[in-house]
């Protein structure tokens, strides 16, 4: 066997009290797409970052082409031919797409003056391969901040490619992409493989892993538990590797049954019948959306991502400017235009962008969980009682099985999946009547996903109105009672429960006539 292109061994990294990596390793050869898998918080991103130079490990060796590599920063990694697409994007919103693609490696003339034409050419060349993923012309001169999340993700990939890497790290690079964009990306990755590049690929979507990757290394609790040939492995086995030998944990029944019951205050009791009726809702990005949902129902939102699903949820929560239309909750008009009022009317939103919209990274887990509902427990809605707050938060931590050290730790120290549970948990304490979920399992591992599914079902069972947007058609199929397929901000089709299937969702999203197949 030839020397592996990349060999990482015994990598350790500690963050305060958290041992993120505890002797992790990864060995891969050139011309390979190597999956890096593991549950949330298992250390995948941290391992990727030690390779890309943004994290300096406490211990461990990295060999590239057999030679020991000292990677003290991104520049060292670059010199060794490593380029990375991070889970947290590194696109600068105020710079144009071109400027982002060449950032840090700008072509210059004499004395460091920029060569704008060369920059444009280079960016154009890098984005050319993804032309199919952009609807119109390549947005070379647009500020990156004006692009949609999927487009931004593509720019990020193009930026990494423009660096001509020997090793390309893709950390959940498909999380914000819709199906076609994923296909374009996969084609590019396959081309790179053919050119001898090593691609380290992390995703929680196992179908993608099987479709693209050759081998997979699995991390658990910061340790490498094994590397498998994917051709000789099935999904169950992979899952078993990821979650360990412990029997695949089914959600505890009490989670489903009582998830929506707040700790203090009257028990929810018999589910009251609630109806949400939306009439002619029109915003910048929505056109005349109307529908009705009843308590106990999960209404799915399907279609290509970016067709207005997130905007619909945001608008119902008062986070978008509403041009026309109204929403009635049990016949009472819902105040649109103020999230504060919406939340007091009993609406909850689990937003799509957890980091930006859902959590307070530097604040303790305690506060993150308490915030939405604390006024209910406070004396005169003002003075907090710490015991009550702690009890409420602890109950949620237990119920959702959030893996934490202490309630006082900043929520940023949790893994992505556990952060997501905190974001959901804060609303469960508020006993919402309408729950709006925007891609609630994005970046969440298999086990946590199942738990979140149970929570969603429990909410509906308790009589809440649930509206769920998901980029994962399987998830929609599994959870929804009905699905509204959106296209360009309007309802293109409504699928009743019998009609919901993954293939139907795909074809409907692409606006193919029913029956016509892909």
């Amino acid at each position: 066997m030839t020397t592996p292109l990349l060999e990482m061994t015994g990598v350790r990294k500690r963050y305060g009290g958290v041992q993120a990596l505890d002797g992790a390793g990864l060995t891969a050869v050139r011309g390979e797409v190597h999956a890096l898998l593991g549950p949330n918080g298992s250390g995948k991103s941290t391992l990727d970052k030690t390779l890309a130079g943004t994290v300096v490990p406490d211990a461990g060796t990295i060999r590239i082409d057999g030679a020991e590599a000292r990677i003290g920063g991104p520049r060292d990694a670059h010199a060794l031919g490593v380029a990375a697409v991070y889970q947290q994007l590194s696109v600068v919103g105020d710079l144009t797409v071109t400027q982002n693609v060449v950032l840090g490696l700008e072509p210059v003339r004499r004395l460091g003056f920029l060569d704008q034409r060369a920059a444009r050419d280079r960016a154009g060349a890098a984005l050319e391969r993804f032309a199919a993923a952009f609807s119109g012309r390549l947005p070379l001169d647009r500020p990156a901040g004006a692009l949609g999340p999927g487009e931004r993700q593509i720019v990020e990939v193009a930026k990494a490619l423009a660096r001509g890497p020997r090793i390309l790290v893709l950390d959940e690079a498909t999380a914000s992409l819709h199906k076609e964009q994923v296909e374009v990306l996969f084609d590019v990755v396959r081309q790179l493989r053919a050119d001898g590049v090593l691609v380290v690929f992390t995703s929680h979507r196992l179908d993608e892993v099987f479709a693209l990757c050759d081998r997979a290394t699995v991390l658990r609790n910061g340790r490498t538990v094994g590397t498998v040939e994917l051709a000789a492995t099935d999904e169950d086995e992979l899952v078993r590797l990821m979650v360990g030998d412990a029997p695949h944990q089914a959600p505890r029944p009490d989670v489903a049954a009582t998830a929506a019951v707040a700790t203090s205050g009257p028990a929810a009791g018999a589910p009251s019948a609630t109806t949400l009726e939306v009439r002619g809702l029109t915003t910048d990005r929505l056109r005349d959306v109307s529908f009705t949902v009843r308590s106990g129902e999960v209404l799915g939102l399907g279609g290509l991502q970016g067709q207005g699903q997130s905007d619909l949820l945001l608008a119902l929560f008062g986070g978008a400017h509403v041009g026309a239309g109204e929403a009635l909750l049990d016949g009472q008009p819902l105040p649109l235009g103020s999230p504060a009022k919406a939340s007091r009317a009993g609406v909850a939103l689990v937003p799509g962008d957890r980091g930006r919209q859902g959590m307070f990274a530097v604040r303790p887990i305690q506060e993150n969980l308490s915030l939405a509902s604390m006024h209910r427990r406070a004396t005169a809605r003002f003075a907090l009682r710490s015991a009550a707050e702690r009890r409420a938060a602890t109950s949620m931590v237990e119920r959702l099985r959030i893996k934490i050290g202490s309630l006082a730790d900043p929520v940023s120290t949790l893994s992505g999946g556990n952060q997501q549970k905190v974001v959901i948990g804060k609303w469960l304490l508020d006993r919402p009547r309408v729950v709006l979920l925007d891609d609630p399992t994005k970046g969440v591992d298999v086990a946590a996903k199942e738990e979140i599914y149970a929570i969603i079902r429990g909410l509906a069972a308790d009589g809440a109105v649930v509206i769920l947007n998901s980029s994962d058609n399987r998830e929609l199929t599994e959870l929804s009672d009905r699905v509204l397929v959106l296209f360009e901000g309007a309802v293109a089709e409504e699928l009743s429960s019998e009609a919901i299937s993954e293939s139907r969702l795909v074809s409907s999203a692409l606006r193919l006539a029913p029956g016509e197949s892909l």
Partner: protein, 327 residues
Amino acid sequence: MSTPVLDPPRRGLGSWRPGPVALAGAVAVALVIAGEIVSPGFAGYGQLVNLMRVAAFLGVIAIGQTIVILAGGGGVDLSVGKVATFSAIIGSRVMDGDDANIVPAVALSLLVAASIGLVNGLGVTLLRIPPFVMTLGMIGVVQGLILAYTGGQAEGRAAPALTSLVNGRVIFDLPGLLFLWLLLGLLAVWLLRRTTFGWNLFAVGANRTAASLTGVRVNRTLILAYVLSATFAGLAGILLLGYTESVFLDLADQYMLPSVAAVVIGGTLLAGGIGGYAGTAVGAIVLTVLQGLLTTLDIGGAWRTVVNGVVLLVLLSLYGRQRRLRS
């Protein structure tokens, strides 16, 4: 961590690091000891009480500054000094040396201060003027108000009751001012750690978008923060009036930037969302002790200024540091 949390963070013994409050406290003690060495008498009981008394004004002004800075988004209130001055000027004119007028005088001063804070808050939220320049502009406006109100001649005098409240010795020869400060400090800590307002404030400072999408009334919280800032500044002005007994046109102006420095030395991040008042209070003491120490050093004004800057830098590098890019 000085973050107001309900239970203390668990730390391994090996990773123990003094929090900003402890560190700032240690610095204060070190400065006092250094002071005693270079000029004996500096650590005497009477002098320590005096230093604490002087620190109290900065400490009270910095309550509001802490609140505003915690609110994030570049939050800072540069108008605190001017507002304190204005409040003292109003208070002095209305009470005019008569105990009977204390209540209306204080009420009017605080009301005017709070309204200035309200305007700051409205400018920052509704007009979206960056706090730094909004409150900077407000300095000019308040100075204008002072001139228009006084015609350039401050009048009146502190009421004797106010003076004895501030300067009078209560127990252990401690002036009433210190007990007032303690009371206000506890109020501030309670407000930040144990009220919905406090937690909303931290949330707004940590992530404004997320706060709004969690149902927090962001603008209301911010406006209240600026109102509180100006009100505490106004209160400090009144206390300063009790201390000096008479006012003049730039009585408290010099507290503008030191109030920010006290907050930062106390470990609160200017980016918002992290910190608390306990640190600020110690920060105010540190700065005051430093000033006292520099005063007693006979090194000439120019070098004294240089030393002041250098020591400030050292203090800041002990704590107020930003996070690294590389972990």
